[in-house]
């Protein structure tokens, strides 16, 4: 399988199964409409009004060579790969819902303004410690483990965070593990003291902000309606500087109300943030702010615009990172990880303040997806297995898709929310993801032009 595309005056072709990426000229791009099905003479006849026979033959020879080398039209040989077939799911990451409460109200919040459709509650240190035990016990021989402090707003239960971290540090030594703690916060409660602690103890920190003041404040506001932008920007900037612009992300959400979201990413970069991320809102169609199919062309244009500016800024020495564009063609994750899916419900689990286990943070509050409880170490094997098997080869749409090794089958929660089936990816999400991948590859091609 191949995928060819054209963006920003650049023609590219990806050999899906080998992972090879080629920049091609317009002639080779046109020849690929007929190659390898048609014979050379037929292709020459079909393209004779545009190119000479010699040129076409030349391009065909090059395509023949790459095909022979396994860099075009290569087969997918991973399904039966030992590393994939024998992969046993182990738990290696937890999302701890340290506070089912929030100090701000976001219009689009999937967590029902922090309480996940339940009572407002805080996780106790006891539950948190049990979660660490559960993680270590179920992690088999994995050394690197992850614990994200999530909410609601985790800073509303910061003393418990510290207790859990202290406990984790003790336990990781005993069991020869390396726990990487991370936190996702809206930033409102950041102060010098907790920033220092976060900086010293968190491997990564995700700071929520949607971009321009009017965009952020339209969606993210305090209980009495005041926008959060002015409160958080100085704090987030300070946090980013403390971390020397590494191991953090400012992360926003864009909706139908700011389809010109490239401006928001660039605004964050202009503020001085070097690590940015901007996610499309996940919302059912009846919400006014939900992204609809008819918005896709606008979204594509925005990603293209952002990609162009991204390259320009790198070339000017003013580059920044945008999460979805950071594809390292040579040092990325192995194909076994890429086919396995996001890991939710298998190697990644979410724990509520009460100790209930869900496949991931997005499923919390939906009783049908309660997998078990860390309080009695119980796991529903049927749900756990259903999620463990939700890899790309078990998803019809994915097996036929060129992007499968880049997105790993997409978000299960999106699939469930839109199609009631974790094995059937959410189409609008897929289309946006494909565009982001094309942009990321175009960026690589543009940067390679300079070399």
């Amino acid at each position: 399988m191949i995928h060819k595309f054209y963006q920003d005056y650049t023609y590219m072709v990806m050999d899906v199964n080998s992972g090879a990426i080629h920049v091609i000229d317009e002639l080779a791009y046109d020849v690929l409409d007929f190659y390898p099905e048609k014979k050379a003479e037929e292709t020459i006849e079909l393209l004779k009004n545009k190119y000479s026979a010699n040129e076409i033959e030349e391009a065909i020879k090059e395509l023949d060579f790459l095909t022979k080398e396994g860099l075009l039209f290569s087969d997918d040989r991973y399904l039966n790969h030992k590393g994939f077939k024998e992969k046993k799911p182990v738990v290696k990451a937890l999302c701890l819902h340290i506070a089912h409460d929030c100090n701000i109200r976001c219009k689009y919040c999937f967590a029902s303004q922090g309480d996940f459709k339940g009572d407002r509650s805080l996780m106790s240190a006891e539950v948190g410690k049990k979660a660490i035990d559960f993680l270590i016990q179920n992690s088999s021989n994995r050394k690197n483990l992850e614990v994200d402090f999530f909410g609601g707003e985790p800073l509303m239960n910061f003393e418990t965070v510290k207790e859990i971290v202290d406990y984790g540090r003790k336990e990781e030594k005993k069991h020869n593990k390396n726990i990487r703690f991370t936190m996702t916060t809206n930033g409102v409660l950041l102060n010098d003291e907790n920033m220092k602690y976060i900086n010293e103890n968190m491997y990564n920190v995700v700071l929520s902000i949607d971009g321009r003041k009017e965009v952020n404040d339209n969606m993210r506001y305090s209980i009495n309606g005041q926008g959060t932008y002015d409160i958080i920007v100085p704090k987030l900037l300070k946090m980013a500087e403390m971390r020397e612009q590494k191991n953090y992300y400012v992360r926003g959400t864009f909706t139908r109300e700011n389809l010109d979201f490239a401006k928001d990413v660039l605004h964050l970069a202009d503020l001085g943030f070097k690590s940015t991320s901007m996610e499309p809102v996940v919302a059912e169609e009846h919400h006014e702010y939900a992204i609809k199919e008819e918005d896709l062309s606008t979204v594509y244009q925005q990603y293209e615009l952002l990609a162009k500016e991204y390259v320009k800024r790198i070339k000017e020495g003013k580059g920044f990172d945008f999460f979805h564009f950071m594809i390292d063609l040579n040092q990325g994750p192995c194909v076994i990880k890429r086919v396995s899916g996001c890991g939710a419900g298998a190697e990644y689990l979410a724990i509520t303040p009460e100790g209930d286990i869900y496949p991931c943070h997005q499923f919390v509050g939906n009783e049908d997806f309660k997998i078990g409880s860390i309080m009695n170490n119980a796991l529903s094997t049927s749900l756990y297995n259903e999620f463990s098997n939700a890899h790309i080869y078990n998803k019809d749409k994915c097996t036929k898709c060129w992007a499968k090794f880049y997105c790993s089958g997409g978000c299960h929660a999106n699939a469930y929310n839109f199609n009631n089936n974790i094995y059937e990816p959410y189409d609008i999400g897929c289309e946006m993801e494909k565009k982001r991948i094309e942009c990321a590859l175009t960026i690589q091609a543009k940067l390679a032009e300079e070399e």
Partner: protein, 46 residues
């Protein structure tokens, strides 16, 4: 080659050789928490 410039070779095939140790970061933990780009994660077993 005149018409084709290869940006990267058979990286997925090569990655399968040493692949599957599982030590890398869970993608959702890094920054997205919704959409799933996995290809931008780092390998822990370089």
């Amino acid at each position: 080659m005149k018409h084709i410039k290869t940006l990267s070779g058979a990286t997925l095939v090569k990655s399968a050789i040493k692949g599957g140790c599982g030590e890398c970061q869970t993608s959702c933990q890094s920054a997205c928490k919704t959409s799933c780009t996995v290809a931008n994660q780092e390998c822990e077993n370089k």
